[in-house]
Amino acid sequence: MKKTPADSAKSLASYLLLAAMLVFLLFPFYWTFVTSIKPEGELYGKTVTYWPREVTFESYRRLFSDYNFVRPMTNSLIVAAATTLVSLTVSLLAAYAFSRFQFRGRKFLMTLFLTNNMFPTVLLLIPLYAIMRKLGILYTPLALILAYTTFTIPFSIWLLNGYLADLPPSLEEAAMVDGANRAQAFVRIVLPVLMPCIVATGAYVFMTSWNEYTFAVMFTNEANRTIPVSLKNLIGQLGVEWGMLTAGGIITIIPVCFMFFFAQKKLIEGLTAGAVKG
């Protein structure tokens, strides 16, 4: 087909529209970054500057020296890594059962896991707080890890079940004919093929645990609070430390973005499969 002037005008318009949307979606990140490299005086100066007159990493330095940001980072890392490990292990087993066996109660159990995702966080928050208090694990990382499994396990099962359903069972059956038992066939055949999907699911679980705030603010104290809680705590009685806060924000999203870029292809495939196919 030939391009008419009207076509060119249309495609120019759509690029402009796309550019406008990208500016809207990305400007807050730009602004956060610019804020984090401005000196204090410029941050609260008379005029708002769109690029710092003087670039400084003072806020980052203070974040680590005055505020000991390494501690919340370590806490977040422990909680997110442990949640990922636990969720992946139990979800993988369950998803394998759902995708490879027909058994009584299968549909009921799948519905049960699916509905779990829909309970309001605040509904679970209140009784979980009371339970953790009674068990004596409130204010320990274990409390958060357990709380996070409320949404990470159902979600992981759902994703992994989708990936497994796309793998033909004949793959393992061939190995089983050759004398391997089901467990061996799973470890030798299914696991390697499924690895990119497991990594994508793990990345998602890690990101959600790393980002979570509502449980974290209630179930942690000074010693084991995670990054999101620490960021919020920079808003103190003496006003907000915007420089340090934005510096912390930038540090928080960098690992998440990296993980997301690596995992996105498989993750998006898994997320959209159910909705698009159905």
């Binding site: 495609s11 509905t115 806060l245």
Partner: protein, 293 residues
């Protein structure tokens, strides 16, 4: 498929099931039982069964009804515009152009950003003294004095809704884009032969083909946005004067005051309201699965 009467599937599901029963099922039962008790940790001696006392107190609490109304507006306007802008973004990203892969990835970043950070970033943007939004509007001559957006009732609620729209656009775009890529090219070719214009193609082919994706994504977003606490809490904590207090935020604030019975009661009412949406969603998911098999 596996043999009949096999214990394997049950053993495999057991760890996940036990965990979920412990951290979801028991808490839900507890929440129900708490809702029938006076359960205020500030007054531990008075903890005890009070029947429907909490429920009647909640239902006559004007703040509860205000929070319900705020939730309805928050969800309707928030999810509505997330859909609209997400749809437009998906259409734009579905065109072939240089660097599309990168543009697509970076436009999804808001979706993986922690809710706390979203709240705090936008709080800084909306700031009444040093906020960049004020500066922009001022330079454009739209306002003559800086507006403390989050401190005023009439601007605070639109401001938090704008923030949730911003957060939700990428997820809609992602789902709709996947749907768009599943529409066979031939449908459009056939429409071209019949001389259909762009608008006709949009309404006759694109939207009908995306019906399921739009439906499922919208239901999911309704549930997530209703349950969202972190964005509002970090922007305004529900203020000023409860202007941005949705039901989830109200429950969270009540929980912070340690009146757990009252908070549990409201959270159960919220869950009941959402269950209607959840039921529609589940039925659609299972119908889809049966169809695919």
């Amino acid at each position: 498929m596996g043999r009949k009467k096999n214990v394997w599937p049950y053993l495999l599901v057991a760890p996940a099931l036990l965990t979920v029963l412990t951290v979801v099922f028991i808490p839900v039962v507890n929440a129900v039982s708490m809702s029938f008790q006076s359960y205020d940790l500030r007054r531990p001696s008075r903890i005890g069964f009070i029947g429907l006392g909490n429920y009647s107190e909640v239902l006559s609490d004007p703040l509860f009804w205000q929070a319900v109304w705020k939730t309805v507006v928050w969800v309707a306007v928030g999810v509505g515009f997330q859909f609209l802008f997400g749809f437009i973004l998906a259409l734009l990203l579905n065109r072939r152009f240089f660097g599309r892969g990168i543009v697509r990835s970076i436009s999804l970043i808001p979706w993986v950003t922690p809710g706390v950070l979203i709240g705090l970033m936008w709080r800084w943007i909306y700031d009444g003294s040093y906020g960049v939004l004020n500066d922009m509007l001022f330079r454009l001559g739209i306002i003559r004095d800086f507006v403390p957006f989050l401190a005023r009732g009439e601007t605070a609620f639109p401001a938090v809704i704008l923030t949730i729209i911003w957060q939700g656009i990428p997820f809609f775009a992602l789902m709709i884009l996947a749907g768009l890529q599943g529409i066979p090219e031939e449908l459009y070719d056939a429409a071209d032969v019949d001389g259909a214009n762009g608008v006709q193609k949009l309404f006759r082919i694109t939207i009908p083909s995306l019906k399921n994706v739009i439906f499922v994504t919208t239901l999911l977003r309704i549930i997530w946005v209703s349950n969202s606490v972190d964005v509002i809490f970090n922007l305004t904590e529900g203020g000023p004067a409860y202007a941005t207090q949705t039901l989830s935020v109200y429950v969270f604030n009540k929980g912070n005051t340690l009146n757990l019975g009252y908070a549990a009661t409201m959270s159960i009412l919220l869950a009941l309201m959402l269950s209607s949406v959840a039921v529609v969603y589940l039925r659609r998911i299972f119908r889809g699965q049966e169809g695919a098999r």
